[in-house]
């Protein structure tokens, strides 16, 4: 009994290994958990994309739940995400702020007039420093920030209808609750 079932040991080990590898394949190594979740959003003072003379600061936004969407005219995935964001902005669930990341003003403006502008305001981060403070590494990225200025959610890469329906909408309702 014991002896002729021995061949099962390597088989069992193999199955365990396959399970681990299979689980590993389901994970996306590009999705790095943000240390910012639950912490205060980094401070910033940036000019508006459309008004180089007007500065917007983080603290101007205290008291409301808002979305920060990092985008750029050179970003292909932003282009994919854009129609969804335009549709979402029509629901007026929360103010959407754009962070125009490492872009040129003219290019950014042109992109918005061509593909539609879902943003209440776009902030112009030409050298990407505010992006670094937000830990941005894969544009587009989307943050939800609560009334106290705390980051509550981060999406790396394009938002999807599922993410909006299952994560963003319930969270915004709860935060505004």
């Amino acid at each position: 009994m014991k002896k002729h079932l021995r061949f099962l040991i390597p088989l069992a080990l193999l199955l365990v290994l396959v399970l681990f590898l299979g689980a590993g394949l389901q994970l996306d190594p590009r999705e790095v958990p943000s240390p910012l979740i639950g912490k205060a959003a980094p401070g910033f003072a940036l000019t508006r994309l459309d008004q180089p003379g007007t500065t917007v600061r983080r603290d101007d936004l205290l008291g409301k739940v808002w979305m920060l969407n990092v985008w750029a005219s050179w970003c292909v995935a932003c282009r994919e995400e854009h129609p969804l964001l335009v549709a979402f902005s029509r629901d007026k669930l929360l103010p959407i702020y754009g962070l125009n990341y490492k872009d040129q003003r003219a290019d950014g403006m042109q992109w918005l007039s061509r593909f539609g502008n879902p943003y209440d305001v776009s902030l112009f981060d030409s050298d990407g420093r505010v992006g670094i403070d937000f830990g941005v590494y894969g544009v587009p990225e989307t943050f939800i920030i609560d009334k106290q200025g705390v980051v509550r959610f981060k999406q790396i890469g394009p938002v999807t209808p599922e993410v909006i329906r299952d994560k963003i909408e319930p969270l915004v309702r709860q935060l505004n609750g």
Binding site: P29, R30, V32, P35, L36, K102, D127, I132, Y137
Partner: protein, 176 residues
């Protein structure tokens, strides 16, 4: 004669297995040597064309410890990604401002998490990561020791002869 052959057989069994033991000991020694050997010297970077080579060297030293999140298998020092260039600039500026190495590392982990560190800190969530290689090596050695000890207690006739000549001897065929 038959008696003598049996004796010869038993002894040769031992003698022929001796090199196997030496081989095992050699492999183990090699494994230990590799485990204990110091990390190979890091390949030298191309000389930086900066105003301040000393600062540049410190920047490279720090960014070599940091993972580029865009190309995850490269360090910030090596990567050509736009973000890596920005982060090198950031480290350069922080060094110019007199920030310490630890302050810069803290700045990066505050934004990108422990994931940016090629040498993550030892804490509850990373304990398995750090200890797994040692545990696996210990497990392997334990298994090896157990197997060898069991085999050393086994009688000679439980081993297969090593070659045809021995097979003849084991079968007690007379050899001329």
């Amino acid at each position: 004669m038959a008696n003598g052959t049996a004796l010869h057989c038993a002894r040769s069994g031992f003698v022929l297995r001796q090199p196997v033991r030496w081989l095992l000991a050699g492999v183990l020694a090699l494994v230990f040597a590799l485990l204990l050997a110091p990390a190979p010297a890091r390949a030298l970077e191309a000389a930086p064309a900066a105003d301040n080579p000393e600062l540049e060297a410190r920047m490279v030293d720090i960014t070599s410890e940091l993972r580029c999140l865009v190309c995850q298998n490269q360090t910030i020092a090596d990567s050509h990604a736009d973000l890596a260039a920005d982060l090198r600039r950031q480290v350069r500026e922080m060094l110019e401002a007199g920030k310490s190495r630890q302050e810069i590392i803290d700045y990066m982990t505050a934004r990108y998490g422990d994931f940016v560190l090629y040498r993550p800190p030892f804490k509850a969530t990373t304990a398995l990561l750090w200890l797994a290689p040692a545990l696996m090596a210990l497990g392997g050695m334990l298994a090896l020791v157990l197997v060898l000890r069991r085999r050393s207690r086994m009688a000679d006739d439980q081993f297969d002869p090593d070659d045809a000549e021995e097979a003849d001897l084991a079968a007690d065929k007379p050899t001329y």
